[in-house]
Symmetry: C2
Subunit: 193 residues, 2 copies
């Protein structure tokens, strides 16, 4: 079995172990035991517990963020694309938080113990927004700005309330969709030409 | 001493006790002991531990927010007033968080245990922003909006990153002022006529 062991199998097992024991208690030995292999077999794929945790988090973020990445690549006018991108980000996060709160809490706790993975993820989100902004500026739909990356970060910051997991408990509150729309209106008017 | 005991003395003592023992462990008996009075004397002013905690939090928020309230009442063009209001809110919170992180953490923990006080505080902040928006709309500096309160809430939401205590650890990061300015630019352009 050890020979045929894939990274993907390890990452799936690690997610199950993390959910069961929590990020503070889960060990590489627990993951190896869940797979019926030696911990050496796990270490051949991931050199440390931190490397394994980072890989689990990166995989989860990529899966979770897939619909958002698709939204970034959609066609059509940039203002509608940006609004759809922000709505998809909010919906995706909200569903993750509501459909499986236990797993969402596990990952929110994991995030606290890693920094590089989240920094990369934030950079990727800013790049997706910046891409939409550039298209919109080129098409005359958005006002040209001195620093597209800085403005993209401002768009992400201005909508923090609707994607940062620290606000997850409020995503089911009455009026949250109205609040989201109002913030999007403000941001999109702030970008418009 | 019990006869001369004022609510203000109790609130000051309660703040010291909260800082020392933390919100989870501090009791009304600890506050009474710090003042050298019976806990009955404290209960004459505040009928429950919760009432005392709420009063401590309300007092702290009022003190902390005083410069922001002043900024709301300043004269001049509404866009400059709103930017100044947001900057004052950010500066005030940042100073509170950096100058006395222990007390700031104590109050952030207190906030988690109360809801009415924070709801009132948020309503007051929205009212201050709405007041500036109304002046700006009347003067033709801001675009008229269908629902001024909703837009005021969107302004507060869009700047969450720069006033919500959950982000306090990032307020000393490099580039935070640039990020704040970029978000304000976006918001103000979103409001402008």
């Amino acid at each position: 079995m050890a020979e045929a062991l894939t990274s993907e199998q390890i990452l799936e097992a690690a997610q199950r172990v993390l959910r069961r024991f929590g990020p503070a208690k889960a060990t590489v030995v627990d993951v190896a035991r869940a797979l019926g292999v030696s911990h050496g077999s796990v270490y051949r794929h991931f050199p440390s517990k931190l490397a394994l945790r980072d890989a689990v988090l990166r995989r989860w973020l990529e899966h979770a963020h897939a619909p958002v990445t698709l939204a970034a690549r959609a066609g059509g006018p940039a203002p509608a694309r940006l609004r759809n991108w922000l709505a998809t980000l909010f919906d995706t996060k909200r569903h993750k938080a509501c459909d499986d709160p236990e797993l969402f809490a596990t990952y929110s706790a994991l995030v606290a113990g890693t920094s590089g993975v989240i920094a990369d993820h934030v950079a990727e989100m800013i790049a997706q927004i910046a891409g939409i902004l550039r298209d919109g500026i080129e098409a005359g739909e958005f006002t040209p700005v001195a620093d597209v990356e800085l403005t993209a970060r401002a768009v992400l910051d201005a909508t923090t309330r609707f994607h940062n997991p620290v606000f997850a408990t409020r995503w089911t509150q009455d009026g949250i969709d109205k609040a989201f729309d109002a913030t999007c209106d403000l941001v999109l008017k702030g970008l418009s030409s």
